[in-house]
Amino acid sequence: MSSLGVALPSAARGILSSCRSSLRETSVNPSFSVLQQVRGLKSNPQAKGKGKKAAKPSRRGPLEFRQKSLKDMDQFALCDAMRYLRAIEVGRNPTVIKYEAHIRLRTRKDGPVIRNMIRFPHAVQTESRICVICPPDSKQAKDALAAGAVLVGEDEVFEAVKAGRIEFDRCLAHPDSVPALNKAGLGRILGPRGLMPSAKAGTVVEDVASRVEDLRGGTVYRERDAVIRLPIGQLGFSPEQLRDNLRTTIEQIKKDASGLNDRINKEIYEIVLSTSHGPGFSLNGEFKTDDSPETPALTGV
């Protein structure tokens, strides 16, 4: 046996190298399989069967996500796609309905995925309505309102909450207002909804306005099955606003992809624009065609 081990590795190494690349990570230790191979090749029929099993991994699909050729796909300029989508979403609330981008990547099935946060030039999310509890006439109140908080104040907020009108999704508080907040006894109402401001959750902050901006402007995205999906605009946006947001998104995703790893290669393969209820329009990268309407006509409701 030992003589075999000495005599054969050169032969076995060739076999091994041919099968190593297709060995699963979870499969047996390579040195062990060398031994098995050697034995199997030589004489023992039983071991031969075993060795074959170890050498030939179970069938796997392709390593990359299969992306078909787009040559048969109808592709549209941004303004044309918007015209259709706006027609399909007619009569809906233009701040609630969102344009969504689906960015498809050419990438391997394993390996790292892109995940990051983006801040658009034109803020998309209005659905995170933010309430700020701080003294109503203070500077912070003004800043918070300017940053886009929907509800600012102390007593009127408390009364509204007690009356059951919770018209916000996030709640921040200024440290000066915390005693008043505790006295109002809102923990029972806000607590179960996860809205009660606390220093631990980072919702009791000195600089309320910048926090509001952070909460409003940022969108988290990640790659799932080679697609990154994220809302990129409200239905009321003009084509220019949407173009700016789309451009920012693509640039950032390219940057993310190049920043991952030298060996990982991800490239953008297709960009699809849709809305909350609409079908997906594959974009061809152009802004408008001769037939598309003027851009002011594609803005608002």
Binding site: K68, D72, V90, G91, P279, G280, G300
Partner: protein
């Protein structure tokens, strides 16, 4: 992501947006006449449930408004769905400077007001049409008569495409039937086998 062919098939809803009832161009400032002034806005209000004659208004929104919006992308169109079932379903048409005689006649003498409709701005004149108990086709006829909208005929390509999809739908009925029969046959086979096996077991245990 969903495969390309499914996506492309879904994208053919575009055809529905281009062709059908309501595919028409409303008069704009450029081609307005005395009888048919430019239309600046549309607003539709109806109740949430269909009883009480609110069905047609909803169908109008579903069927006609997308086409109108496609051919008149610059005209704001809003829809309000109320929970108040007793209000009349109304369609408010906003004209640039005056209301034509046809529109006045259609709106009727009995003026109704729609409190959900946005207020007319800079010289807009409002014609409010009561669309309660009307089908969407009837509503569309009224809209067309009062605004003088120019219908856009389907192009030849669109007609051909529509024909193709009609043929596919036709074929789908046969295909569904064929597959159903196949599946049923397979199920019957399996059931018979299971029954036979059960009998064998019964005879063995007995």
């Amino acid at each position: 992501m969903v495969n390309l062919f499914k996506r492309m098939r879904k994208l053919k809803t575009m055809l529905d947006v281009r062709v059908g009832t309501g595919a028409a161009i409303l008069p704009s400032v450029a081609n307005a006449s005395k009888e048919f002034p430019a239309v600046t806005r549309l607003h539709l209000t109806y109740a949430q449930k269909i009883y009480g004659g609110h069905q047609g208004a909803r169908h109008f929104w579903r069927n006609c408004l997308p086409r109108l919006k496609f051919y008149n992308p610059g005209i704001p169109m809003t829809v309000k769905q109320t929970t108040d079932q007793d209000i009349p379903a109304t369609l408010s048409i906003y004209f640039a400077d005056r209301v034509g005689s046809t529109a006045t006649a259609i709106a009727g003498n009995k003026q109704i007001t729609d409190k959900h409709a946005p207020a007319p701005q800079n010289g807009e004149k409002l014609a409010t049409v009561n669309v309660k108990d009307l089908s969407y086709q009837e509503i569309w006829n009224r809209v067309q008569a009062s605004t003088g909208a120019n219908e856009v005929p389907a192009t030849e390509e669109d007609q051909a495409e529509a024909k193709k999809f009609a043929a596919i739908d036709e074929k789908a009925i046969h295909d569904r039937e064929r597959i159903r029969a196949k599946r049923q046959a397979k199920k019957d086979q399996e059931r018979m086998l299971a029954e036979a096996r059960g009998e064998v077991e019964k005879s063995q245990t007995a």
